[in-house]
Subunit: 336 residues, 2 copies
């Protein structure tokens, strides 16, 4: 059953059927009804591929997510997909992993699929000049690209992010001002926002003119699910003689590890050790005590990102960067 069959049944041309289908105004109500009746009767729906060919779009948008099983990124995908669908777009998801190669691969697959835009989530872009980001700069010449929590200065690339620098800085300042000067900074990603957070931490020390021990900045290599690994890691640091009275983590999962570390070593939280996580996820509530964590308003970020995306696709002028602020949600692992 195609548009010809319908046109024949209705005694009109296929152009008229198309006009009815697409809500054109230049069609007499009586004709419209006649055609609609036939369409309903036969349960006809236009062929999406033919439509795509004619219009050069199938209203679908690619989402490249480094790891959609990650709590934070999964939520991002969830919000983005919902907003896109509300605007009539389909989401083609690819979970790429964190490596540049596989992202490049996913990107070219999506562009060959002729998606209208690509949204990237869980990125690690720092500068356009970075050779690693070349592929995205190139891709953007064909298809607009939207980054969540990343920053890339490049035409046709739009970034929506949280000011992780400031949020982390504020958290660190609160700790410093409460008298804790040995804050362990624990991170597990060298993504753009990862580096922003680290800078925020450092700048807090600078602002208060307190020297910051380099040993207090620690990168955790393990898996993003290995809470016990984090605990071991911290135990190791302690055995090496490193002392710290707070842990500021770039992710809740690291903070959860810190809480377990404290328990196993009988360190009182928050009196002997303060812990601050990031993302304010379910893990902060699951832990005991519940973890203070920076909330960066993911839902707002995603909804704004999609708004930008839709705007661009509609030919509107859109700001290349949108920055929101995050804030510390105080729970039981801090005395702030």
């Amino acid at each position: 059953m195609n548009i010809y069959d319908i046109s024949k049944q209705a005694g009109v041309s296929i152009a008229t059927v198309s006009r009815v289908l697409n809500g054109s105004h230049n069609v007499k109500p009586a004709t419209r009804k006649k055609v609609m009746d036939i369409i309903d009767q036969y349960g006809y729906t236009p062929n999406a591929f033919a439509r795509g060919l004619g219009l050069d779009t199938m209203n679908s948008i690619g989402i490249i997510c480094a790891d959609s099983s990650d709590l934070y990124l999964a939520k991002a995908v969830y919000y983005i997909e919902g907003n896109l669908r509300k605007n009539g777009y389909n989401s083609v998801l690819m979970c790429s992993g964190y490596e540049h190669d596989s992202k490049e691969n996913a990107l070219s697959l999506l562009i060959n699929q002729r998606v209208d835009a690509v949204i990237m989530v869980g990125s690690n872009y720092i500068e356009a000049e970075d050779e690693n980001n070349r592929y995205i700069v190139n891709a953007a010449t064909q298809t607009p690209i939207f980054l969540l929590n990343a920053n890339l200065d490049c035409p046709n690339v739009f970034c929506t992010m949280c000011d992780d620098f400031r949020a982390t800085q504020e958290a660190a300042l609160l700790l410093l001002d409460s008298g804790i000067t040995d804050i362990l900074y624990l991170y597990n990603s060298r993504s753009y926002s990862g580096m922003q957070k680290l800078s925020g931490y450092r700048s807090a020390y600078d602002m208060r003119e307190i020297p910051c021990n380099r040993e207090l900045i620690q990168f955790f290599e393990g898996s993003r699910e290995d809470i016990d690994g984090v605990r071991h890691f911290l135990c190791g640091l302690r055995e090496q003689g490193l002392t710290f009275h707070a842990v500021l983590a770039s992710e809740d999962m690291l903070a959860a590890g810190a809480v377990k570390y404290a328990k196993i070593n009988n360190i009182a939280i928050p009196d002997e050790l303060s812990v601050i996580g990031y993302n304010n996820s379910l893990l902060t509530v699951c832990s005991d005590p519940e973890i203070s964590s920076v909330d960066n308003h993911l839902e707002t970020l995603c909804s704004r990102l999609v708004k930008t995306c839709i705007g661009v696709l509609n030919g509107e002028e859109m700001p290349p960067k949108v920055i929101y602020s995050g804030e510390l949600v105080r729970k039981a692992t801090t005395n702030l």
Copy 2:
């Protein structure tokens, strides 16, 4: 740049270009090289929509996920997407919520998009006769449908699931045999697997010929992220005088709530209260003590589901039901 341009440049017909592109054997090596060179030179890629129109497929598969921000379902989506992509298929994701209406809606959107198949995750189908499932039975006449952890007896619908009945039964038997006869069964979903788990719990009591107090079966209405809500809920039950020395939960998040409940009431785990969760997710490790939980091998389930899907699409005969078994992973909330 289309196939005509390429054929002109290479001095062959478009049929030959198409044959080269699709790896047909009937083309002379020299011709193939000539064409490939031109293709490389101009960086030509075939138009996916036209290809879709010709082949009546764009190699994409719809995934309807009730809630991709749920820890378990997000992982399912992750595994499924990865396996699909390995087989050359794209994934079109829709997060539908748990209501039948919105699932029906998502399904019809995907079918209009002309996906080759639909995979549904986080379902709640019990019987084909159930009026609520009518839409899926109908949809299956057009497009094969694959369900994860659900059961629907219907042509063109294929189910891959864990034997949640047996896994829960075994967990309950272990508790009963260790002398705990007042096991609180806590669940938050009336999905197929939710009901299977409940039956498993009941059957364990039957097998040991121990009467099962109806009050011990409790449904938690709240959000899937509201661990504190679960804690309150359990506190309420306790205040009403209900006693129980174990909690068997249909999801880790409920078990995490149980752990928090025990702590706040100074109930020793596992000596005074055993807790068993389901899914063996990150939450079991984040909690303190770590929660014993049933692992239902999600990765295996997903990879098998995709294998079935690909088989069906290749016209192979595939079993309509595949059932795996789950098993209890013992951690610190049980003495088993």
